[in-house]
Symmetry: C2
Amino acid sequence: MKVKAVFYHAGCPVCVAAETNLAKAIDTSRYDVEIVHLGKDSTRISEAESAGIKSVPALLLDGSPFHINFGANLADLK
Amino acid sequence: MKVKAVFYHAGCPVCVAAETNLAKAIDTSRYDVEIVHLGKDSTRISEAESAGIKSVPALLLDGSPFHINFGANLADLK
């Protein structure tokens, strides 16, 4: 079974760079990668917050949050 | 030819978590991943700085620096 990976972003330049480089580098034979745009799908902000995500871009890997550089605070997307 | 990926860390708990989860998630069929411990190999700090890395853990993917959460400033490793 693949490990769940969720890449949360908000379409910002820092987010796009992280998606293009880092999210794309993940081994899709072992990880099931989902890309979530929190600016467009704000209903999922609370899910990201519950997982411990404070800013975007961020990658949730097997339940662990990893903030990648800094694009925007989650609080500012509401 | 594989893309070069360098994971810089300093053995801190945040670094270990990032290495265990994120660095290990990279597709090694497409990326050549090198793990560098800047605490043990301080001669490579200047290389990391030149690449735009400010803190560890960080991942340099195809020349682009991605800071992952925050463990320590590069300046504090000197």
